[in-house]
Each structure stands twice: as structure tokens, then as C-alpha cells.
């Protein structure tokens, strides 16, 4: 008597999936349809990628802006707080940036890069402008180096010399080569938005030591980066 298993004839039930067993996909995730205002529509928007949401926004559905705000406002808020040194001003700047995004969303071209990189560059420039505006209104005591900043702007991936993903990778690699104290100081000042005095209180080091660690760390980063982009910089400075 033959075993039952011998009679089984197996066949793949999904010919297409079998052809591409390791790349099973669905277009539904990136399909852009007006989601409307129904709860299900809002739910679906939450599962769209940034780029798909940007296309929805370009198509005139403003609700996508709320989802993008929820995803990225905290990143922008940290950058704004670091540059503007004031939470209220940072919040105001971030809100205005997203309103500007709504009005300028047609400038976003997914062929040229991801939405997050576009948004960050868009935002950084506006936050810097905001800082200048506050300086002009004497919110800050003075900023005598302001006259040098136009050489950096407009801020694009090209003017920075790297795409944001490349830059992130490079920064991470170079940061890993710093001494722990230098690295920690840079992280606390740049990533957590502390001042040298606040770092001093947290670490127990003197302000002078904190500033020295910051200088040494930044100097190493500068040397690591400018070895690669010095030619581009010189070209722009002429």
C-alpha cells in the first residue's frame, strides 16, 4: 500500500510569487489615491511612504500634511531649537516651515531624492533665515558673522558636497574616530542642544575643558571632511 504522501502532487499556488520568491511585493502600498477624510482614509495615509504622501499633497489633499508633520516635526524642532536657542521660536519656525512645505510642495521632485532630505534642506535654510531675522530684530545681541553666511546658501546637497545619506554615514564614521570626551561634547551640544555651560554642569568638567573638547572634536571633523571637499569649496569661494 502506497503511502498517502506519495499521492500528493504539490504545485506552487502563486506562479508570480514563485518566480520572485524573495521579492514579494504589492503596488498597493505606494498607490496614491485621494484618501478623503474618512477614518480609513486617514489610516491608509499613515501607511504611505513620505514620497507617496508628498504626491498626495501635490494632488491637493491637505490631510497628508498632518501626517508629514507628525513624522518629521520633532526632527525639525530639534534642529530649530539648536539654532534658535529658544523653544517658542523653534516651534514657530517649524510650524511655518510646514506651512511653507504645503505651499511649495510642487518643488519636490522624487526623481531627485527622498522627501526627508528635501525637507531637511528646505527647513535648515528657513531656520537659518529665521535666525538672521531674529538677529536683525535684536533678539540676539549680535551676529557679526552673518555676512559670511550667504556663501553657504542656498543650501543644497550639491553645495554641501554630499547627499544627506552619504553625509550621515560620513559623519557617523568620523565621529567614531574621535576621543570619547570630544565625541560626547559634540553630541551633547549638537544633538541635545546644550550650551557649553550646561554640558559643564552635566559632565562635571569646567567650561574651559568643554570648549576645548568641542574645538578639538570639530577640528578633527573639519579635517576629515575638508580633505574631500576642499576643491569644491575653493571653487565656490572664488
Amino acid at each position: 500500500m502506497s503511502s498517502r504522501i506519495a499521492r500528493l502532487v504539490f504545485s506552487a499556488v502563486t506562479p508570480r510569487a514563485a518566480d520572485f520568491p524573495d521579492a514579494c511585493v504589492s503596488d498597493a502600498a505606494t498607490e496614491v489615491t485621494p484618501a478623503g477624510l474618512s477614518p480609513l482614509g486617514l489610516l491608509r495615509q499613515r501607511f504611505l511612504t513620505d514620497e507617496a504622501l508628498a504626491r498626495v499633497l501635490q494632488g491637493g489633499n491637505a490631510e497628508a500634511l498632518t501626517v508629514l508633520f507628525e513624522r518629521h516635526a520633532s526632527s525639525l524642532f530639534r534642529v530649530a531649537r539648536r539654532i534658535l536657542r529658544n523653544e517658542a521660536e523653534a516651534e514657530d519656525a517649524v510650524q511655518q516651515i510646514f506651512l511653507d512645505v504645503f505651499r511649495s510642495i510642487q518643488q519636490f521632485d522624487p526623481e531627485k531624492g527622498g522627501f526627508k532630505a528635501w525637507l531637511l534642506l528646505f527647513a535648515y535654510q528657513r531656520i537659518s533665515n529665521c535666525r538672521r531675522s531674529l538677529t536683525a530684530n535684536r533678539f540676539f545681541d549680535s551676529d557679526p558673522f552673518d555676512e559670511l553666511l550667504p556663501a553657504v546658501f542656498p543650501l543644497t546637497e550639491r553645495s554641501l558636497g554630499y547627499s544627506l545619506p552619504e553625509m550621515s554615514l560620513l559623519v557617523e564614521q568620523v565621529m567614531s574616530t574621535l576621543r570619547p570626551r570630544q565625541r560626547r561634547t559634540i553630541e551633547l551640544i549638537y544633538y541635545e542642544g546644550l550650551t557649553a555651560e550646561e554640558v559643564s554642569k552635566r559632565t562635571g568638567e569646567t567650561v574651559r575643558v568643554v570648549r576645548h573638547n568641542l574645538y578639538r572634536g570639530l577640528e578633527k571633523l573639519r579635517k576629515a571632511f575638508w580633505g574631500n571637499v576642499s576643491s569644491a569649496l575653493k571653487g565656490e569661494s572664488r
Binding site: P15, V25, A29, F47, A151, M167, V171, L214
Partner: protein
Amino acid sequence: MVNHDYFDFLCALAASDELTEPERVELHDHSLKCVSCRNRILEMTRMNAYLLLSHAFTRRRGRLPEGMRERFIARAIEQGVPLKSPATAGLGALGLASALFIILLVTAGAIRSGPFSITVADNGHFDTGSKPLHATKPALSDLRQGSGGRRSYAKPKSVLVQRNLDPSTNSHGKKPRGALPDHLDIFQNHYFSGGLSSPHYTLATMPVDVGRLSSLPYMPSRLRLAVPPALIRDSALQLLADSGQSTPQLMIFPSGFTFATPPPPGMHPALDNDPSRMPSILELRGTPLKFHFVENVTQ
């Protein structure tokens, strides 16, 4: 006379806004006549942008000040952006979880309330006709004739929704009764990739934790199984052989799955199999894959 290294020090701190007012004035006066320092300040300003942007680019979401989202929506509405009011706009985490729970509840209810999926085993495709399923258990002799031109249908034996695996075979273009909502379909379709059918049992699969997966903030547009299809097939055969005439046990793989980035615009996702373009964005190694065996019932 002050050493120029001192001004290098000031240049580094100027970009990070850590100068005292006397230092700022001192550096400003110096930089008016020193090209090197002006360039250094420019470099440091770029470095400032590198550090802040790269961190913002890689860092995941953090907390916002309380009420900032609502204030933003109110301001946007005030400026003419057609958003819903802050009280009702969007879905909070609780709303999202509730909506997901309701969807799963409705789906589970639909599964329990009646059969809705039909599997055609003899042509190798799942068919999703609107015909109701007559879940009459056949005699063994009938079962053994299964592949002889007779249509056999699968009766779900567990919490499982079977539906059309190949969209091209669904002539009506409608979703079958009892089908999962769209965002869950995606997962299910992916996990059917290792599906096998026989006259008696159909091997199907479903993520064990759909709720957790679909509550991810970003719907992954690509998903790759970490379990080789050949291993699924071999294991299924072994399980069926071991089970004899009884229902095979569940087949569980400890390996997880991988979400990858979307394909380039214009390219069908299935054709984009270039590993260099598919960096993994999320790996759920600890989440097992559970495969169900669904008994076929001959009508």
C-alpha cells in the same frame, strides 16, 4: 601678540554659537583682514549643517512639545490650509489602535460568520468566486480522486483568510467577501509566497502578529521573506509525510522577515531584485512565521 591658533579656536566655536561677546567682536575684527579665518568660519558653518542635518536625517521620531500638533493644525486652518479641526484631525495613537482593532474584529467576525474563500487546487490557483462553500467532509475515496478534474475547495480551519493569490485570475476585479482590508492584504499576499497545495491540504501562511506589524508607522512597500521557499516546501512535505492521515501540525519558522526600500519609480517592484538597491530598513528577526495547513473539502 595673539597666536593664530587662538583664532582657529574661535572660528570653531563661532559656528556652534559658543563664543562670548568679547570673543565674537575680537574674531569679527580679525576676520575682516584675515581670509584664512573667513574661510575657516565658512567651513565650520558647513560643518554645523553637516552635524545637525545628518543627525536629523538618521534619528527617529522624538517628542514634540505638548499641544504643538494641535497648535499647528489650528494655525494651518487659520491660514487657509484645508485641514480638519485640531480636535478631529488625524488619528492619535489611541485612535489608530482602536481603528485597527475594529478592523481586525470585523475581519475575525466575518471569518467566523461564514466561509468565503475557495481554493481551486487542480489548476494551481486560488479562485475567489462568490459561490458559497459547502463544507461537507468527503469520504476518503473521494479525496483521493481529488486531482482528477474535480474541483476541491479549502475550508479554513484556523484564523486564516484565504483569497486570490494571483490578481490576474480574479476576473471580477472585486474583493472577495471577507477579504482583509487593503493594508492587511499586503502582508497576507507576501506570506502566501510559499504556498503549496495538494488534493487534501493547502499550505498557507499568515504572519502571527498582523496587528503589531500593521501598526508600524510606515507601511513597508517591500517585504522579503527570510525563509527560503525551498526550505518551506521541504519542511511542508516532511510534515505531511509525518502526519499520515491526520491534520498536519502548524509549521513554524523562527526566522523573521525583512522590510526593504521601495523600487525605483516606474519599475515593477517584483522586477527590482537588485540587492544593492534594497537595503533593509527593518528586520524582525525574532518574529516567527507560522504556516497553516488548510484541509481541502471536495464539493
